[in-house]
């Protein structure tokens, strides 16, 4: 018998209790994994909007709940184009509509045809729409194949019927699932004449992005310039809330798991006081007793963490099926999810078993011979 063998033996001696403790840890890890992947993925999807314009700086309205609800006047975009160091400023209006049950959230981009090339739009097939054409539309090629439409077909979105004039791709995959129409038409549909959602700024060669960004910030106090993904997180209140929910949820999950481990370890401690006294009476050190108790918790928690990763993966698949998240939630698994889960399990085991382990270590050797 080895020390590890003894640990495993003690775990197997109380199978139901060990399994329930592992389950508590598993649920904690599941929550951490699911929340973590959800947050990472939503952040990623959202920040792809930044990249779509191939811009050095993205301009949004300051303090907007959701970047998609930002409004900026086209006049401001034109003025930004005149700021020293700015090579080009393009405004785009973003809207959303349902297409069908499989596509409940389609992002519509309103963009003037002449701004398509600078914006990074690459026409794969057909042609662009007319500047003010009310019944012409282009489809991102991924969306087109998903709905089975080709150039020349008719498509109806929210009671408006369009002819598909072309298919396009963009520099980021997210853009390939959007649809694009004349800016003026989308403004009309959304009653946002003269407004765009975001501005995309490219700076002159040799100009510093920060300098230009600062100049724009000073000249347009009602606007926010966004250069990086973390700037974006700060500009978008929803993402901030998601981040906070992730942190809060993870802490809560950890507390629940720690309570589970503490409960089991403490219960075992009270049942095993005499056993710990026996170990001490035959010469085990306090450290060895602590190692036994914490070792048992660690093994159970690591098993629970592995189970939790699997449950988390399942939970993510369920989330993906939710109508509210369909289309915007594409799970991104970062490699550190496993190390994070493992360290979560180890931390929970350590914190949950620490107090019972210390109690066990303090059992006096004489306890072994006391009659109950």
């Amino acid at each position: 018998m080895t020390f590890i063998g003894l640990i495993l033996r003690n775990i197997r001696a109380r199978p139901l209790r060990s399994a329930l403790t592992a389950l508590a840890v598993a649920i904690g890890v599941m929550a951490v994994v699911a929340l973590g992947v959800l947050t990472d993925s939503l952040n990623h999807t959202a920040t792809q909007i930044l990249e779509i314009g191939e811009a050095d700086l993205t301009i949004s309205q300051k303090n907007t709940d959701d970047i998609i609800n930002s409004t900026i006047s086209q006049e401001d975009i034109a003025k930004i184009g005149q700021v020293p160091g700015v090579r080009r400023a393009v405004g785009a209006l973003l809207g959303t509509d349902a297409y069908d049950d499989q596509h409940p959230l389609v992002i519509e981009v309103g963009l003037a045809p002449e701004d398509q090339a600078p914006f990074g739009v690459n026409i794969l097939e057909g042609r662009s729409y007319g500047t003010d054409a009310a019944n012409e539309i282009m489809l991102g090629y991924v969306f087109a194949s998903s709905v089975g439409k080709r150039v020349g077909d008719q498509i109806t979105i929210d009671d408006n019927t369009y002819t598909v004039t072309g298919l396009y791709s963009t520099n980021v995959s997210f853009g390939n699932s959007t649809v694009m129409m004349p800016l003026s038409h989308l403004q009309g549909l959304n009653r946002l004449d003269g407004q765009v959602s975001l501005g995309f700024v490219q700076v002159d060669k040799g100009a510093r992005v920060e300098t230009v960004g600062k100049a724009i910030d000073e000249a347009f106090p009602q606007l926010a310039t966004i250069a990086t993904a973390s700037d974006f997180g700060r500009a978008d209140r929803n993402l901030m809330l998601i981040g906070a929910a992730n942190t809060g949820g993870s802490i809560l999950a950890a507390l629940i798991a720690i309570t589970g481990v503490l409960n089991t370890s403490l219960l075992s401690f009270f049942e095993r006081i005499r056993e710990f006294g026996i170990y001490r009476s035959i010469g085990w050190s306090r450290r060895r007793v602590i190692a036994l108790v914490i070792g048992e918790a660690v093994v159970v928690s690591v098993v629970g963490a592995a189970l939790g990763v699997a449950l988390g993966w399942g939970a993510i698949n369920v989330l993906q099926q939710l109508d509210q998240l369909r289309g915007i939630f594409q799970p991104i698994y970062k490699a550190d999810i496993f190390t994070r889960s493992l360290s979560f399990g180890l931390t929970v085991a350590f914190l949950g078993a620490l107090y019972p382990a210390l109690r066990a270590a303090l059992v006096a050797p004489i306890t072994a011979v006391r009659r109950e």
């Binding site: 003894l6 033996r9 005499r274 001490r280 035959i282 010469g283 085990w284 072994a368 011979v369």
Partner: protein
């Protein structure tokens, strides 16, 4: 605990040792000296403090008065290295066995050696002891399924596991039949021939007649 020279002085030396629990006198002051290689049997009426003395000699608790020295280690206030002492210098076969119910007979013996001997030695030593005590057939059984006599022998095997110089055995033959008692007595005698020391608490005439010497503890005076 100060470490003396292992080669001189008695194996067990107790002078003026006593213990009380609240108003109960568990052990009236007693002097006891056991030489190295000696097999001493301790007798006395029930409740006179024999088990209490064994606990104190095994460093499981401290005496109220007096001085105790076992295997060259001074026990008592300020004693250090007690884990090492309990593990390597003294082996106790408890009156109530005190085996771990979840572990098999073999594992109970090996548990005493965890961290004190290499795995191969632990296996070898436990097989050797189980065989010597005629327990090989029950090696994989747990204490709740063992008979009283079998449990008693497992407790003795565990006490011998780390080959400590001093063995303290509390009623080691109480529930043994004649064959098994003889087995245990032979093991103790051999132990002493090899330089070990045995202090056995017993009312068993088979044991007291086998010992080198019998020491009687008088009954503790109430309220002392």
């Amino acid at each position: 605990m100060s470490r003396g020279n292992h080669n001189d002085g008695p194996a067990i030396e107790a002078r003026g040792v006593s213990k009380r629990y609240g108003r109960t006198v568990a052990l009236a002051p007693i002097d006891l000296s056991v030489a190295r290689g000696e097999f001493v049997v301790l007798v006395g009426p029930s409740g006179c403090g024999k088990s209490t003395l064994v606990n104190m000699l095994g460093a499981l608790e401290r005496s109220d008065t007096g001085v105790i020295e076992v295997a060259g280690h001074r026990l008592g206030r300020g004693a250090r290295h007690l884990n090492h002492f309990r593990r390597m210098e003294v082996g106790i076969a408890f009156q109530l066995h005190n085996l771990i119910p979840r572990l098999t007979a073999r594992e109970n013996v090996q548990a005493a050696m965890l961290g004190a001997a290499r795995r191969r030695d632990r296996v070898e030593r436990s097989e050797e002891l189980l065989d010597a005590l005629d327990l090989t057939a029950r090696a994989n059984d747990r204490p709740p399924t063992l008979s009283g006599g079998e449990r008693q022998r497992v407790a003795i095997a565990r006490a011998l596991a780390n080959k400590p110089p001093v063995i303290l055995a509390d009623e080691p033959t109480g529930s043994l039949d004649d064959d098994a008692a003889e087995l245990v007595i032979d093991i103790f005698k051999e132990w002493c021939l090899e330089g070990g020391t045995v202090l056995a608490v017993s009312h068993d005439p088979r044991l007291s007649s086998a010992g080198d010497r019998v020491v009687t503890i008088p009954v503790a005076a109430e309220g002392g």
